[in-house]
Amino acid sequence: MQSMSNGVKWSLVAVGLLAVAAFAADNRREFRYTVGQGASVTVTNESGPVEVRGSAGRQVVIVATTHSDKVEVDCNQRGNRIQATTHFLQRSDGPDRVEYQILVPQDASVTVRAPSGPITAERMRGDLTLEGDAAGIDVRDVSNAHVHVRTISGPVSLGNISNGHVEVTSLSGSVQLDAVSGPKVSVNTAKGSIRYHGDFGEGGDYMLVNHSGNIDVTLPAAASVDLTARSIAGSVENDFPLIQQQHPTSPITPGHSFAGTSNSGASTVQLRSFSGKIRVKKQ
């Protein structure tokens, strides 16, 4: 009985020490920099999430939380350029992830590379370049900006983006666009499905292309589009009232392609799939 009691005691001590060690390894660091207009912020995080948020003022605030003493964060400022990078002091199978929360002036241009992510960015007016392998990427409330997103398998979600130059490329990640408009919106995937929900703005060039995923578009009756859809080896379905073009730019093959205009046809919308299904629906 006595030895069992000692065993329990030692176990408790060991657990306590482990907890202290774990707590000690959790290291929250904060970096603050003042920048001018048109600053650029680059974050490279091998493992863990990165959250970027635009804020008023001219400060860049980077909060990095590590969970291991085998990893560290380097932040530096060179002129109007801020760089934050995760460094591995020693490779391990442990909790090497680092979490970044970043506030930037809204007009800053931001580049994030985070293979595992997820990556989120919101309330920005500066250019965004976001790249993750398996990372999910979520971008909200952005205006007047270039938004470049690239993933291998990570899903991409863009919402409430106006007057954007948007370019999304993913191999197998799905891409969801809600209320995304701009002079130029281009989405390319291989296997990933593409969903667009919105009105395509008041004049822009939209190109949604994939190989084998589906393309689903839902738009309101008031949308002003000049729309063409073609799936070479897949099928197309249209549930949206379009006026047939008298001289379509390419021949229409029933079941595989359609084209038409609604209202004044202010925005050009091209939907192209190789073998996926394309569906256009009225909202």
């Binding site: 392998d133 690239r150 398998s153 191999l171 390319n188 291989a190 070479i232 390419s250």
Partner: protein
């Protein structure tokens, strides 16, 4: 000289001086002029991929045979070491695995671009007609794919399955698009898919390189 003839002689044109006829065509044809400029740009970009070390001769042989299969370079008699013209490499400082993959990615894109333009200028050459089976070149980059996967495995083993699966995906995309273009070289939609497929593969290589840290 028309575009097809010019592009047939393209490897020689890139590697050495142009004759008067080729020069004249280059001045009069924006498409070929752009193509030459793109290939030069690719070669210039490859110079930036330092530091470099000597790769395995097997790798260059693989790239050479891939280019030969595509008809972009002429087969050579005997054993001649191939290296991309314009990439200035000292004998002891060739490419590492990572920079080699970058070169491979750029070459891949170049192959795609050149193949694309050759398809569009085949008026004087026999082309496949719909329904007639055509010989599709074997994958030209199997060895490069293997190196990409190897690089990912070294640095980010957890992502290996993701990259392998997506290489299969993009290779299927290239095969499908290429088959369709071969059946109908004037199908602009299929040609657009083919270029996009090559671009996607180049993106995958680029991201694998970034992940591998090489």
């Amino acid at each position: 000289m028309n575009c097809a003839e010019f592009q047939k002689a393209l490897p020689g044109i890139i590697e050495s001086d142009r004759n008067a006829e080729e020069e004249a065509h280059l001045k009069s044809c924006a498409v070929c002029s752009d193509l030459v400029q793109d290939l030069r740009c690719i070669a210039e970009s490859a110079k930036l991929l330092l530091p470099m070390q000597d790769p395995s001769p097997r790798v260059w042989a693989g790239i050479r045979s891939a280019l030969e299969r595509e008809g972009l370079v002429r087969p050579l008699a005997g054993t001649v070491r191939f290296r991309p013209q314009g990439v200035v490499l000292s004998p002891r400082r060739w490419v590492t695995g990572g920079s080699l993959l970058a070169v491979a990615a750029l070459l891949l894109l170049a192959i795609g671009i050149t193949w694309f333009f050759n398809q569009g200028t085949r008026d004087s050459q026999p082309v496949a007609t719909a329904g007639v089976p055509v010989a599709i070149p074997a994958s030209s980059v199997d060895e490069d794919d293997a190196q990409v996967l190897s690089a990912v495995q070294r640095r980010s083993p957890a992502l290996l399955a993701t990259y392998r699966e997506n290489l299969d995906t993009v290779n299927a995309y290239i095969r499908d698009a290429r088959r369709t273009v071969e059946q109908d070289p004037y199908d602009m939609g299929a040609r657009d898919h083919l270029l996009r497929a090559y671009n996607q593969k180049a993106l995958l290589y680029e991201m694998a390189l970034a992940r591998s840290g090489e």
